[in-house]
């Protein structure tokens, strides 16, 4: 069975349906018996639902590029 840490890491893939059957089973078996992970799954879904209702403003393409580049640079530095 998965650990809480694995549930944390896999929650997005679970909701996107990209986990294999065995992994989905393990994910669900853990969530049923783990109250904090139940809460975590519920919170993640609530957050996603709310963000889905949000319409972001349009950014100029240059600004978007600079933000993406800054993120990529930051991510490289973290590795």
């Amino acid at each position: 069975m998965f650990t809480c840490r694995q549930i944390y890491d896999l929650v997005t893939e679970y909701d996107e349906g990209s986990l294999e059957t065995g992994e989905r089973r393990q994910f669900e078996q853990h969530v049923v018996i783990c109250p904090p992970c139940r809460g975590f799954l519920s919170q993640m879904r609530d957050t996603r639902d709310r963000l889905g209702q949000y319409s972001p403003p349009e950014f100029p393409a240059e600004l978007e590029d600079s933000i993406v580049n800054a993120f990529r640079t930051w991510k490289k530095e973290q590795q």
């Binding site: 059957t21 089973r25 049923v32 109250p35 904090p36």
Partner: protein, 241 residues
């Protein structure tokens, strides 16, 4: 085929978040059908047999009628269609707490037996007594601290269990919030404690006989489901035995 289905409060699927159509006073709920091939954990109406009840504990328990070819999977039965027939009102917060008490009592007794077999009768008696005294959790914790060097660990498991029983976490000092404040519901605690107690039981079995864990764990889970089915007076229905 008649089977059983646990749902979160309001007849909502824990994983699917599907709002199930509920029965009226004179008719079952509407059929829920899925398109495409039935696949475990991916597509299909998921329910369980009596022997699988404790694998899926949640706030509400419903009797569900399944239609079409039923796939029997590890821990679940899955069909292309299903409808809720009636809610089993016997599964409620009180019953969830009774289930927890049943599991914890049985596990504490096993842990005490283990201590007694090691020649630690006094510790065994203290552990058993801690269950029936006020502040049982603190007494079990105190006992666990006193036995910090205990390699076998059944008392330490029991200390974890005592904290979990009240919604806390073994690794945290803070009390758990109530269900009203976003903490676990009695059903979620029951799901948690049932698993933990089966784990402790299997650990104790493993201590007695190497390699006994898996069989002991599975047997304990079936035993818990049997206790619950009897408590709820579930009738043998269709193939859902």
């Amino acid at each position: 085929m008649i089977a059983y289905k646990f749902l979160s409060s309001g007849a909502i699927g824990l994983f699917s978040r599907h709002a199930w159509p509920t029965p009226t006073s004179d008719a079952p709920g509407e059929w829920v059908r899925v398109d495409g091939e039935v696949k475990e954990c991916l597509n299909g109406v998921h329910a369980c047999a009596k022997s699988q009840l404790v694998e899926w504990l949640d706030d509400e328990l419903w009797e569900i009628e399944l239609d079409g070819a039923v796939l029997e999977a590890d821990g679940a039965v899955i069909a292309p269609a299903g409808r809720l027939v009636r809610r089993l009102e016997g599964w409620n917060d009180e019953c969830a707490r009774a289930f927890v008490g049943h599991c914890v009592d049985g596990t504490v007794a096993l842990a005490a037996e283990s201590l007694a077999r090691e020649g630690r009768a006094t510790d065994a008696e203290a552990l058993l007594a801690s269950r029936s005294q006020p502040g049982a959790e603190l007494k079990v914790f105190e006992l666990a601290r006193n036995l910090e060097e205990d390699q076998s660990g059944p008392v330490r498991f029991a200390a974890d269990m005592a904290r979990l029983e009240h919604g806390g976490r073994p690794e945290l000092d803070a009390d758990a919030p109530t269900a009203e404040a976003g903490g676990p519901t009695p059903a979620a605690l029951a799901a948690n404690l049932g698993f933990v107690c089966a784990h402790i039981t299997a650990q104790l079995a493993e201590q007695e006989s190497a390699g006994a864990y898996a069989e002991s764990f599975a047997r304990e889970r079936v035993s818990q489901s049997s206790w619950l089915a009897e408590k709820l007076q579930l009738e043998p229905l269709g193939d859902a035995s």
